[in-house]
Symmetry: C2
Subunit: 379 residues, 2 copies
């Protein structure tokens, strides 16, 4: 392992195991070891969890949503408060998305043009315009370490013509984002192209010619069959510029992570650990557990006997958490969210170890099989 | 200060300042220094706050609700899990109420007789019967350090005839509770009598003849004018048996605590710090603060610059907490609850110091005046 110090925004590959990669990305807020999973802090909070406890799960980079924070409390206000890190008391790395996906999916009366998105805020109906330049300005004010370009993200199953237009416009917007971005902030381009490998590969090459600090795979997990995503990742990811971190946006299940890391993905984000926690779904080393199930009524065991999270090591039993969950006590959401976040952090930690030891495929196979057996044991 | 070790359930007076008292009550789960405020953990959780952080506010005794826990998850289940302390991960003292107040106010189709309360559960309509014996059995199974007798609590402004009947039946039920209680568990009798000092004093004397470890003042803060409560407390509390801790149930505001401690009350409980937190009301050394107020939009200060709570010492600004509150982020409820609980814990801590130094009245006067001035400054 080379010992020279990394510069901010520099990515270094440390090891490979098959297509799986072990790397380090340097930010002004610490080194990020990849493969890495980013918890989602939509509105400048990882829902229900104190930031100290988020960090205690092992997370060292999270992602916040530009659309939400732009509308409320406003990017200028966050900048005035010292930026997102100071505002939300998170001393580690932060990425922000472009706001485009939410503007398209959450806002009302959306118009898309070459210039950008026009829409009405879902909060108060105010007419807003999100261009590549505005997205860069807002992300600059938020002060994230890593910004995402504004892109066009077609829904799953979109026709090739739609995908082609999205790819072309996304490339043009990438160039505008590069011009407009805040100096020093890392910028990640977004590869589109649906489940069409040829289109994906061509777009990946196009974007790789631009001075972008990372390359993301957008437009997955947007309604297409899960198998189509993995088939596409398997043939595309190994050919995405190896010198830059590869980020699979909005994905996914633990199984998705294990498979995608095997293809060479480095960075992930998803609401799944925290959202599923609030719905009472728990990830364990033996598969999923639904805490409101009556079989846990008197179960004195922790959520996962092999887990080292705050919840599992402080004696909170399944019986107690089930009681809290059924009684709608807010503590349930924090305890379950912490556990699921730790599950994701530990999963990427184990993946990193497996890559370093060049046993990734064996580890992945055994890990997936363990979850599968857990399902079989209980059914 | 005598240095002999206290036995479990023993109360020792350490100092007096006017009528205000400084004492120690020994439980199997630690010493409780009085005057003390008990956070409310209705359903075996102090709402929205991890028990570690509840303890970090300085709280060393909390109160849980027998009615709620009896119905869900059930007292046998809690006993099977090792009792409330183990179940909810609270290693310090726990009191439980009798369940009567909630059976009367929350349940449906309630019938009151000499035997007890019959009612239909507000959760599933199941017909239940709460007698003095059943309440003792349930509290014994929950395993609290301190149990409350089943009592009759008339609403504020009840006629003397109603109060007289309530007092008489409450005494009879106290005797039944003493017979039925779990050995070793402390039992507290409840003085009724509304705002009638003569009735209160007579009931206090009646109950003082029974082997009860504490004497509570019930039937306050049930709709009567606040001034009537304080007038009654001033003439009654100093004459309640001085050898036992005096507990003012369900009270109250910080002002209420300061005044009642001055009359000789030792123990309090109230949902106010946590409920007000969830409604965005914050207690500070300069008076109350409503966090959603627009004047806090860009306020970088902590909730209270003189506060040493987790929230105020970890850099969470008013601007950030206001944002979380308005965005309905669950973290807001935890941060605000911790702060308000610490406010109450610090208030009783300061009261204890003032009594030890025999300057209680001066301290109380200045404390009340400080809050009053804060109100004037802001209005």
């Amino acid at each position: 392992m080379a010992s020279t110090t990394l510069q901010v925004n520099e990515f270094r590959l440390i090891a490979k195991s098959g297509n799986a990669r072990r790397g380090t990305f340097a930010t002004a807020h610490g080194l990020v070891e990849t493969p890495v999973f980013m918890p989602v802090g939509t509105q400048a909070s990882v829902k229900a969890v104190d930031p100290r406890l988020v960090a205690e799960t092992g997370a060292r980079m999270l992602i916040a949503n530009t659309y939400h924070l732009w509308l409320r409390p406003g990017a200028e206000l966050v900048a005035e408060q010292g930026g997102l890190h100071a505002f939300m008391r998170w001393p580690h790395a932060i990425a922000t998305d472009s706001g485009g996906f939410q503007a398209f999916s959450l806002a009302e009366r959306v118009k898309v043009s070459e210039d950008g998105f026009e829409f009405s805020s879902h909060l108060d109906g105010a007419r807003k315009k999100l261009t590549p330049e505005e997205s860069m300005k807002v992300q600059g004010l938020l002060g994230s370490d890593i910004a995402l370009q504004l892109d066009i993200c077609p829904p799953g199953g979109a026709a090739d013509g739609v995908l082609l237009d999205a790819v072309a416009r996304t490339t043009r917007w990438a160039a505008r984002c590069i011009e407009a971005k805040k100096p020093g902030q890392a910028l990640v381009g977004i590869i589109q192209g649906g489940t069409n490998p040829e289109l994906r590969l061509r777009h990946a090459e196009e974007l790789a010619r631009l001075p972008l600090e990372g390359l993301a795979l957008g437009g997955f997990s947007v309604g297409e069959p899960n198998a189509d995503m993995h088939r596409t990742l398997a043939v595309v990811v190994p050919f995405v510029d190896a010198r830059r971190p590869r980020y699979l946006m909005g994905v996914g299940t633990p199984e998705d992570l294990v498979k995608a890391i095997g293809c060479g993905v480095d960075v992930f984000d998803c609401v799944m650990p925290t959202r599923n926690a609030r719905n009472g779904q728990v990830f364990t080393t033996n598969g999923k557990l639904v805490i409101r199930n009556a079989i846990y009524r008197e179960d004195k065991r922790p959520l996962d006997e092999q887990c080292d999270c705050h919840t599992c090591t402080h004696g909170f039993s399944r019986a107690y958490i089930r009681h809290l969950y059924i009684a709608k006590e807010l503590l349930a959401y924090e305890l379950l969210s912490i556990h699921n976040l730790r599950f994701y952090a530990r999963l990427t930690h184990e993946a990193r170890r497996a890559i370093e030891q060049d046993v990734y495929d064996t580890w992945a196979h055994e890990t997936l099989r363990g979850w599968q057996m857990g399902k079989e044991i209980r059914s």
